[in-house]
Amino acid sequence: MLNTNSILQEFVEINDKLQKGYQTLKQIEEVDVATTPKELVWECDKVKMYHYIRETPPKCDVPVLVSFAIMNRHDVLDLQPDRSLMKKLLEEGLDIYIMDWGYPSRADMYLTMEDYILGYLNDAIDFVRRRHKVNKIHKMGICQGGLFSMIYASIHPEKLKTLTTYVAPYDFEDANCNMLYNWAKHLDVDTMVDTVGVVGADMLNNAFSMLKPSMDVAKYFGVMDMMEDKDKLMNFLRMERWKNDCPDLSGEMYRKYIKDLFRDNKLIKGTFELGGHKVDLKNMTVPFLNVYATEDNIIPNKSTIAVMDRIGSTDKQLYAFPGGHIGVFVGAKSQKELAPSIAKWVMARSS
């Protein structure tokens, strides 16, 4: 039967929480992210590279360059002091640089995948090599940044000591993996790029939100219960800030990404070309650590794992992280288990 009293009470409580929410949120003046100290060491156009400042000398001489997906900001890797993959890796003794891809505008619509991988990324890697007077550095790439790092490593293995990728998509063959893979197959990317020049972040975010349509409504039930717990609320707000802070994408880069990788799966098929180079995964011979999230609803596990049999590396390892796509960077387990394990793996290959 119906319990009218509890239903009415429920609505009263919600409105009470809304009022409290207003009072609490009104007090918040700043939602800061990415607070681990770092300095700008290199820049080219809108792309920048930062070096994290260490208080103690690193435990290994070979520096690490981290690059995140171009379609998101890298700030999620240093979301807050107690949920910072970067801070944890620094504490473990690594010397870390990070790429900031910037916010492309219409003026950047002609930037190609080649410009990003063989231009900016390659120049940044060369800069770090020169700065540390080493031939090879450690490379880490996350999500799309992992895929781009894999392509780079297949062209320039001589510049890398190791490659670690997190939740990266490699194999796009199975369109049923998730809806985004299927949509990409049918997308009229030429019309899109020719029309908009730069692909809007909102459009991409809307597509991602369809992976779990209720998310944008359901999350607020939880938020309303956080109003009296400032720490939890700030955690939520930091994540919201990150999620809403998405750069647009250069149209030409997006065109090749959808056509050659998503649609034609050329990297896995061995037919992918970039800047006159034929990208052969068998040339990727550097030690490789492939981290995937077992509950990843954005990048299907089989897409990430598929690369293992195709690369030339003999020193290669899969790391199954129990959690979701974002949990890899911000989850408690990421701090406690994943970061130390990765640091250990990287340092073991630094000599």
Partner: protein, 489 residues
């Protein structure tokens, strides 16, 4: 109270009145505290509170009277379970038929080619406009599916709603009034927040509460059956309000409400008509316009900020000044322009058609979600369990929805159609951008987007050339250094 003699409903109504009165008191106190520096708000709240309570008691008295009407209504509602689906089917067919008729007519025009006789062109144009206008007028009169529903005693949603509103008056109406009041009150508060992320979050919470209210409204007519433990799929099908559910789903997926979309389409149609007429006259009046525009006061201050206004004013004045399409000459630039706008409009019709189909897919699946939820609720009621939370119902709907909608979105049929709609939208935008630029901005003393894109391309090429030279230079330096001081490998 007038409900004393009705044992079935006494506690229900009393509880509603008591609880809501206390809710409003609580809210008024809280609001007063929050806006303590704004005296007129206090006064408004006090008056509003009293009016609200009076209305509440007044409506409670109506309760007993309407119970009898309810019994009558229930007896009338014995139609098949497919009726709710019929609503969406009819909505879809209505969209399809209109678009097909208009689109086919356009296709026919295109196949016949443009006549060299301006009178023929004009007639076709007028027929087309007439047809389109008919459609809009029809929709203004609530569209055929409303007529269909009026003819069907069950599908007469308005009547059904009216009866339920009367029956559930004290509960339903007052809760809605209360939540509208609350939502409106909170609606603008986010603007006072200094941090944008916090403000966004507060807006999100508000929207969630709004969705919950809409969800509640959907289920409220069924509460009486929960109370009487006779809720089942039949009562659900009878009481489900497809119009409201459609509005709820539209909001959930941010579809434009039908009326807004029609207004948007109408706006586009008028815009394109203006474009055609402008194409006809060419830009002969441009110089005159420019001379006038430069003398205008807004031109002296910030001309670029006012560009949209200039364009709008110009367009409006042109529409009034120039003659209709009948003045078109034979194949010349103006006729070509008119054809382009015609194509754009054709694409818009196709877009409307495909978009309706896409939405229909979502509606169909949303009905599956609601049906499953209703089945679950019916089982609970039959098992003697309590329905004590609308939030839980809403959360269950979302959970079921995630499962159903993601399967739909992943399907080939949806993916193909969705990307087709997206391409059409983009193609229309692209074509319109080109034509707009050609018609208006190419003669303006500003760089057009096409020109800027060329500049960007040149800059891009130059930068790339420079970087490649720089890399070659660095590489040569490294090789020289290597030769001088070979590194140990």
């Amino acid at each position: 109270m007038s409900t004393k003699n009705n044992n079935n409903t006494k506690s229900f109504v009393d509880l509603v009145v008591e609880t809501q009165s206390s809710v409003v008191d609580q809210f008024v106190d809280a609001t007063k505290k929050l806006v303590k520096d704004v005296p007129f708000v206090h006064e408004t709240l006090d008056k509003g509170n009293q009016m609200y309570k009076d209305a509440l008691h007044g409506q409670a008295e109506m309760f007993e009277k309407t119970t009898a009407q309810m019994n009558e209504t229930t007896q009338n509602m014995n139609q098949s379970a497919e009726n709710v689906k019929n609503f969406f089917q009819q909505w879809f067919e209505n969209q399809m038929n209109w678009a097909k008729t208009t689109f086919q007519h356009q296709q026919q025009n295109a196949q016949n080619g443009f006549s060299s006789n301006p009178a023929d062109w004009s007639n076709q144009w007028q027929n087309w406009m007439q047809q389109t206008n008919q459609y809009w007028n029809q929709n203004m009169n609530m569209a055929p599916y409303y007529q269909m529903m009026s003819n069907n005693p069950f599908m007469n949603t308005q009547k059904m709603q009216h009866q339920f509103t009367e029956f559930m008056g004290p509960w339903n109406q007052q809760m809605k009034a209360y939540f509208d009041f609350m939502n409106n009150s909170f609606g603008e508060w986010w603007k006072k927040m200094p941090n944008m992320t916090a403000a966004d979050s507060f807006q999100g919470m508000n929207k969630m509460a709004e969705s919950l209210t809409k969800f509640y409204e959907l289920w409220a007519p069924m509460f009486k059956h929960f109370e009487n433990k006779n809720f089942n799929m039949e009562t659900y099908k009878e009481m489900m309000n497809p119009e409201k559910y459609k509005a709820f789903v539209d909001k959930f997926f941010s579809f434009l409400p039908d009326e807004s979309r029609k207004q948007f389409d109408e706006m586009n149609k008028q815009f394109i008509q203006s474009m055609k007429q402008l194409a006809e006259t060419g830009l002969n009046n441009y110089q005159q316009f420019k001379a006038q525009a430069q003398m205008a006061p807004w031109m002296q201050n910030s001309p670029f900020n006012q560009m949209v206004d200039i364009y709008t004013n110009w367009k409006n004045s042109m529409v009034e000044a120039v003659s209709p399409v009948s003045r078109l000459f034979e194949e010349n630039a103006n006729v070509k322009n008119a054809k382009i706008w015609n194509e754009i409009y054709d694409n818009m019709i196709t877009l409307n058609l495909k978009n309706s189909e896409l939405q229909y897919m979502v509606y169909q699946n949303s009905m599956k979600v609601m049906d499953t939820l209703a089945e679950n609720v019916a089982v609970k009621i039959q098992n003697g369990e309590q329905v004590d939370s609308v939030v839980k119902l809403f959360q269950e709907w979302m959970m079921l929805g995630d499962d159903t909608f993601t399967k739909l979105f992943q399907s080939d049929a949806y993916s193909k159609l969705m990307t087709e709609v997206s391409s059409l939208q983009l193609r229309i935008k692209k074509d319109m951008d080109i034509e707009m630029e050609k018609l208006f901005f190419s003669n303006m003393p500003i760089a057009t987007r096409t020109e800027m894109d060329e500049v960007y391309k040149n800059l891009y090429d130059l930068k790339k050339m420079y970087r490649n030279l720089e890399r070659m230079f660095n590489h040569e330096e490294e090789v020289k250094a290597e030769v001088k001081n070979p590194k140990k490998k």
